[in-house]
């Protein structure tokens, strides 16, 4: 008679149970790790921009304003949040800011962050701005300082 067959039945069942428990534990551990990795992936996705180096243009009868930034995220169908070194440039002026919301449909842009406006012999420092009416109207918010030469 084979020796193995001589093992008592209860020992065999105990060993099998131990193996199953260990397997379940290992499987459970791996599954947990996998879900943590998934979370990391999601957070990376949130930080990532939808568009890199976006460029837009506001066109009006009087002027053309080119808009550029390092990053952009779609907020909805029409609005894009432009981030990092946002620049509005026309023949008459340049505006530097961060975190600007650009509305493609209405051709408007606004920011609540520190903004710097530069044009011929003029500089403006404000706590935000808004470009309206296809660039014909520009509002600067908060305490504003203008320097003229």
């Amino acid at each position: 008679m084979n020796y193995l067959l001589s093992l008592q039945r209860k020992y065999v069942i105990s060993i099998i149970l131990v193996i199953v428990i260990i397997s379940l534990f290992v499987f459970g551990y791996k599954s947990m790790n996998a879900s943590i990795n998934l979370d990391e992936d999601i957070s990376i996705n949130i930080n990532n921009s939808d568009i890199t180096k976006p460029k837009f243009t506001i066109n009006s009868e009087n002027q053309k304003i080119s808009i550029s930034a390092n990053e952009g995220n779609f907020l909805n169908k029409n609005e894009i949040l432009l981030k990092n070194d946002v620049v509005f440039k026309s023949k008459k002026f340049t505006i530097f800011s961060d975190d600007v919301i650009f509305n493609k449909n209405q051709q408007t842009a606004s920011s609540t962050k520190k903004s710097r406006f530069i044009s011929s012999n003029t500089s403006i420092l404000a706590n935000g701005f808004e470009i309206l009416d296809e660039g014909n109207k520009i509002n600067f918010y908060g305490k504003t300082v203008i320097k003229l030469k």
């Binding site: 012999n121 003029t122 404000a126 509002n139 600067f140 908060g142 305490k143 300082v145």
Partner: protein, 253 residues
């Protein structure tokens, strides 16, 4: 006497010529609205303009430009306005102040409007308007006054013309009007009437209606009069010859 009129206005060259703002810093507590098509910008709340040539404070300021923001041609300031130019000897306060660099005009409106210049000051509860390019001044409002150290003029409406000669602005025409009474007071003669007119050509001040001339101890009243500034003499007449009244006070000395 002649000197009095000559030195009455020695100022208006002080209104800046176009584009001579110099290095300028403007601060506004509640931001700016720039209207590019309309070519102006609106500065909101506690506005302060500090330039090489003048300082301006106001609640709200509208700055009109020609080519770009720096190229200001007109300024409209409203609410607690004060303008100060030590360099040019100008100080102005009022409710609304407007000045045009192109037209060389300054206009102050509202109660207690004041325009102080090196040798002259103007006050009105209505309008003070000076046009340097065509050489006119106009004050309209209750208790309007124009004075320097030699002469005092008061009335509801004071207007006139001046000419610039060798950087000295000389009044060539002066009209004063008040429905109650107007007054022109020089060092030696005190004149009252409803209307008064000065013309440099004949160097006479013409007085019309409710005329009263006071010179030293003499008081003369009538309907019409004139004062010769060259000869320091005067004449008062009346529509009714019996109406002229002369009062000569006796001096105690």
């Amino acid at each position: 006497m002649k000197k009095t009129i000559y030195t009455l206005i020695i100022f208006l060259v002080s209104i800046q010529a176009k584009g001579e703002l110099g290095e300028t810093q403007i601060t506004a507590e509640e931001g700016i609205e720039v209207f590019q098509k309309e070519k102006y910008y609106l500065l909101k709340k506690n506005v302060e303009i500090v330039s090489d040539n003048f300082n301006l404070n106001a609640d709200v300021v509208k700055a009109y430009f020609e080519k770009d923001l720096y190229d200001i041609i007109n300024i409209y300031a409203e609410g607690n306005v004060s303008l100060d130019s030590k360099e040019k000897g100008i100080n102005a306060t009022g409710n609304v102040l407007e000045f045009s660099f192109n037209e060389e005009t300054i206009k102050i409106t509202g109660a207690n409007s004041v325009l102080n210049l090196t040798n002259c000051s103007m006050f009105s509860n209505g309008i003070i308007h000076v046009n340097n390019s065509i050489g006119t001044f106009y004050l309209n409002g209750n208790d309007s006054t124009l004075k320097n150290e030699d002469i005092f003029v008061s009335g509801k409406i004071i207007d006139g013309k001046f000419l610039s000669n060798n950087n000295i602005n000389e009044i060539v025409e002066l009209n004063v009007e008040d429905e109650n009474i107007s007054n022109i007071k020089t060092e030696k003669i005190d004149m009252y009437s409803l209307k008064a007119k000065y013309n440099k050509n004949n160097n006479l001040i013409e007085l019309n209606e409710k005329v009263k001339v006071i010179r030293g101890d003499e008081i003369i009243t009538g309907d019409y009069g004139y004062v010769d500034l060259e000869k320091n003499s005067y004449k008062v007449t009346s529509n009714n010859s019996k109406k002229v009244k002369v009062l000569i006070k006796q001096s105690n000395e």
